[in-house]
């Protein structure tokens, strides 16, 4: 089952996919065009912790002229960076290189501390798709990638769907792709991650407690290109859905 979180006629609610339509809380069926799509996450009591990986695919690390890291390169994001499916993300006027990053995103389902790799999947609620935009012009070499590159308002679209763990038999063998204005620009597979999902849960939970609703964005393969205002960017992961975003001029 695929779940969404939407605003319909002013009411924020959960919805489920039914044969190409959305079934709302009151069982009414509406079309995808009749709602505003939010990140497919229920509210949490505390702000959710959002961990994101850099250089987690060997080909992308090579593309950016880095050797593959020996331990995860991780940074944090705040919930203010998230936005929903079919929303826009602003590109500042003065930049030369803003690119998407299609990423398998893990949603934590149970409080996790000192979790062993073999038990890691038990702590996952499900999965979604992230597009973790970066503006490379703003990279500086202090706590890189810095928040000005990676934590901009609305620069991390998430969705459209939350897909339950049981509906994704092998998250480490999913095709990823990105199109810009319909043209394929990025193509990869989650099997090529350097640090896979069970490793990441063991690693993070070795020093911090993860809570239900926390997110892990697992990095992107190679094939990132500059996106201009008006470009329609679709990041898609096999079995999880296609997340659409449009670049807007700031």
């Amino acid at each position: 089952m695929k779940y969404a979180r939407v605003i319909h006629e002013g009411v924020t609610q959960n919805a489920a996919e039914r044969d190409g339509l959305l079934m709302l809380d009151n069982a009414k069926l509406v079309s995808f065009d009749d709602v505003t799509w939010l990140p497919p996450l229920n509210p949490t009591r505390q702000p959710r912790t959002i961990l994101a990986l850099g250089l987690n695919y060997a080909d992308h690390a090579k593309e950016l002229a880095f050797k593959a890291p020996e331990e995860p390169l991780v940074f944090l994001k705040s919930p203010s960076a998230l936005t929903g499916h079919r929303q826009t993300t602003r590109r500042p006027a003065d930049v030369d290189f803003m690119h998407y990053e299609c990423e398998l995103t893990v949603v934590i389902g149970r409080q996790a501390k000192h979790v062993k790799r073999g038990d890691a999947y038990d702590y996952i609620a499900g999965y979604t798709v992230a597009n973790d935009y970066a503006i490379r012009d703003y990279l500086e070499n202090w706590y890189r990638p810095n928040l000005r590159v990676k934590n901009r308002d609305g620069a991390t679209p998430l969705g459209p769907w939350f897909v339950e763990r049981g509906d994704v038999p092998d998250p480490m063998a999913l095709a990823l792709s990105t199109t810009v204005n319909g043209k394929l620009t990025q193509s990869g597979n989650t099997k090529d991650m350097i640090f896979d999902v069970p490793f990441l849960i063991e690693y993070f939970s070795s020093f911090m407690t993860l809570r239900p609703g926390d997110l892990i964005l697992t990095g992107t393969p190679d094939g990132v290109v500059d996106c201009r205002p008006g470009d329609v960017v679709v990041t898609e992961i096999e079995g999880l859905g296609a997340l659409m975003n449009t670049i807007a001029a700031a």
Partner: protein, 207 residues
């Protein structure tokens, strides 16, 4: 947990002039290559938050913890400050500032949060704040906020250029050089006129 902890807590690196001065020529060499232009920020996620008086667990592998006495600039709405609160931004000491410090700064409990807020309207000049740090009663550091690279409002303006700080978000003003170190069994007190005292004790993490 304290009323103010409802949003994201951001820390600021290199907001004390002494921090960059201490790096000297290194700030111009690889991997940094140049001093920073924009604010250098990091996030202290919810698992790090500790109330005043709380015992903070230290893993057995960590021999010393760096004390980061600072002030949190708390928001009540987008870009609208509520006031100032003492914070103890603990870290595992680390040399390199090249990569995000998640494994050094995001351990459970590694952010002490004061229980008293000075309202923004009652604070004519945040440069007036002086923090006294004591470990087991011994004075170990005095932190003055009168010579920041970016004073609180300027920092808020520069950060707001790319992200909005909303209700309950906190922007910490930075930690000066000379940060004392503490170990399991130590009690850390941070005190300032108008902000009260923030006390936390380091304890061994349960196995």
């Amino acid at each position: 947990m304290s009323f103010l902890l409802m949003g994201t807590v951001y820390g600021t690196l290199l907001n004390f002039r002494g921090e960059l001065a201490a790096l000297g020529g290194k700030a111009h060499e690889p991997p940094y290559k140049a001093p920073p232009r924009a604010p250098v920020l990091y996030i202290k996620p919810a698992n790090t938050w500790s109330e005043d008086g709380a015992r903070i667990p230290v893993p057995a592998r960590v021999h010393e913890v760096e004390v980061g006495a600072t002030i949190g600039f708390v928001m009540k709405g987008p870009g609208d400050p509520a006031g100032y609160v003492l914070m103890n931004d603990l870290s595992i000491p680390h040399e390199s500032l090249f990569r995000p410090p998640v494994k050094f700064k995001c351990l459970d409990g590694f952010l002490g949060v004061g229980s008293k807020m000075m309202r923004d309207e009652d604070c004519a000049d945040p440069g007036w704040f002086v923090l006294e740090v004591r470990i087991n009663g011994e004075p170990r550091q005095t932190v003055r906020f009168n010579d920041l690279v970016r004073a609180p409002r300027q920092l808020l303006t520069d950060v707001s250029e790319f992200m909005t700080l909303g209700a309950g978000d906190v922007l910490m003003l930075g930690c000066d050089v000379g940060r004392p170190r503490a170990k399991v069994g130590d009690t850390i007190e941070i005190r300032a006129e108008g902000l009260g005292t923030l006390t936390n004790t380091l304890v061994a993490e349960a196995a």
